[in-house]
């Protein structure tokens, strides 16, 4: 996960009141079922940076002697700005898959259909597994967890659709004069669309 996502995610958790570091980690775990895999050191480092930037401030210690932080007015404004600002393309990680398929399409001797199918099968396997996870654990998690799983499912869906597009594009370019098969012998012609 990108550092900025951790920073904003943690800051957002302050919206409902002051918290100490370990409490933040626990709340992250509760919302993501441990999927974010934050260690407590990362939480404290991020807290220090948020304090340095004036977005949170120390408000003393609790009964256990843990330092408690609260969001500042500047922090609330920054958080509000973050929520309304779209994530721009340049902030997203580069896709190895996109590069792999683009290179496969131009490199000699690569069976693009095989590359596409291997990825399609793996992506569909993940789709099934996340769908299973969502189906079986929907009752035991909050809406934040649900939306994170849904994000993975929709991302996979988009990836699989893009793979179909890659395959169709490469095949079309490779076979520009493909003769149609007689309609009488194409029982599947009643289907519409691609995959």
């Amino acid at each position: 996960m990108q550092k900025s996502a951790v920073r904003w995610g943690l800051l957002a958790l302050f919206a409902d009141g002051p918290k100490y570091g370990y409490q933040l980690k626990n709340e992250f775990d509760a919302h993501t079922s441990g999927g974010w895999a934050l260690n407590v050191g990362q939480v404290y480092t991020t807290l220090d940076r948020l304090a340095r930037d004036g977005l949170v401030e120390s408000v003393g210690s609790n009964a256990d002697g843990r330092e408690v932080f609260a969001i500042t007015g500047q922090g609330r404004q920054a958080l509000a700005d973050w929520f309304v600002s779209p994530v721009t393309e340049t902030e997203r990680p580069r896709s190895e898959l996109a590069i792999k398929l683009a290179m496969a399409a131009i490199a000699p001797g690569v069976d693009v259909a095989a590359v596409v199918q291997a990825q399609r099968t793996e992506s569909m396997r993940q789709m099934r597994d996340y769908t299973d996870l969502r189906r079986h654990e929907v009752q035991s998690h909050d809406v934040a967890w649900l939306l994170l799983v849904d994000h993975l499912i929709f991302t996979l869906e988009s990836e699989i659709r893009w793979l179909d597009h890659v395959e169709a594009t490469v095949l079309r370019r490779a076979q520009p004069h493909r003769a149609p098969t007689p309609a009488a012998f194409r029982p599947d012609d009643v289907e519409v669309g691609g995959w």
Binding site: G35, T121, D188, V190
Partner: protein
């Protein structure tokens, strides 16, 4: 009895002869066990509809064998094949295919009455099947008094009424919005989890994700299938 509700063993279906010959299915083998839903994906013309037609005994393979509950379809005469289709196999189509002049319960009871079950017993089975898809209270409604999602859930009840344990679904969510599609898939999945077996043809990756396995067809060949499941820990480790 076979552990598999549906088995394709080296199934090919060739239409036409000579230069006109088209291999709609080419040496396809796969099984569907009780409690298992298998999705079939592939581009148009890849053989998905042919596969469903063969699975339901509506067409016969050129070579290879199709078995339903351990019974090879090739060995059945026309009457036995019709009986097997009626008693063992249910269909769910994109456009529901309910009889408009019959109520929901009458639609679901119809295949049982055709199988020779008395009207009252068939009605009881139909109401039970409707209850399993959460629609017992709509038993007296006619199809045009029901939403698309409700009609499709009734079609699923009909597909698995009585002794039927194999459901063949051809784009069952094709005419439904996303939310309703998920409700229909939940019902289908619940019936599979209760011991039925299913084949789901779909273009939608998100809906194929409800299946235990997806097989991929291309030019009539089975080119790949999804592998074993990952553990929840492996999945959660990649959530962001």
């Amino acid at each position: 009895m076979s552990a598999f509700v549906l088995r394709f063993a080296g199934v090919s279906r060739i239409y036409g002869v000579g230069e006109q010959e088209v291999h709609a299915l080419d040496d396809v083998s796969f099984d569907v066990a009780a409690g298992e839903l298998v999705a079939v994906m592939g581009p148009s013309g890849s053989g998905k509809s042919t596969l469903l037609a063969l699975a339901g005994g509506l067409d016969a393979p050129t070579s290879g064998t199709v078995s339903v509950e351990g019974v090879g379809l090739a060995g059945l005469d026309a009457a036995a094949l019709a009986r097997l289709r009626r008693d063992r196999v249910g269909y769910v189509f994109q456009d529901y295919n309910l009889v408009t002049d019959l109520t929901a319960a009458e639609n679901v009871a119809l295949p049982r009455e055709l199988a020779g079950v008395g009207a009252r017993a068939a009605r009881r089975e139909a109401v039970a099947a409707l209850a399993e898809v959460g629609l017992a209270d709509l038993a007296g409604r006619f199809p045009d008094q029901l939403s698309g999602g409700q009609q499709q859930r009734i079609a699923i009840a009909r597909a698995l009424v009585g002794q039927r344990r194999l459901v063949l679904a051809d784009e069952p969510t094709g005419a439904l919005d996303s939310h309703t599609s998920l409700a229909v898939l939940e019902v289908l999945r619940a019936r599979i989890d209760a011991g039925a077996a299913g084949v789901l043809v779909t273009h939608e990756p998100r809906y194929a994700g409800w299946a235990d396995r997806t097989i991929f067809l291309r030019d009539g060949k089975l080119v790949d299938a999804t592998g074993p499941r990952q553990t929840p820990e492996q999945l959660l480790g990649r959530m962001v």
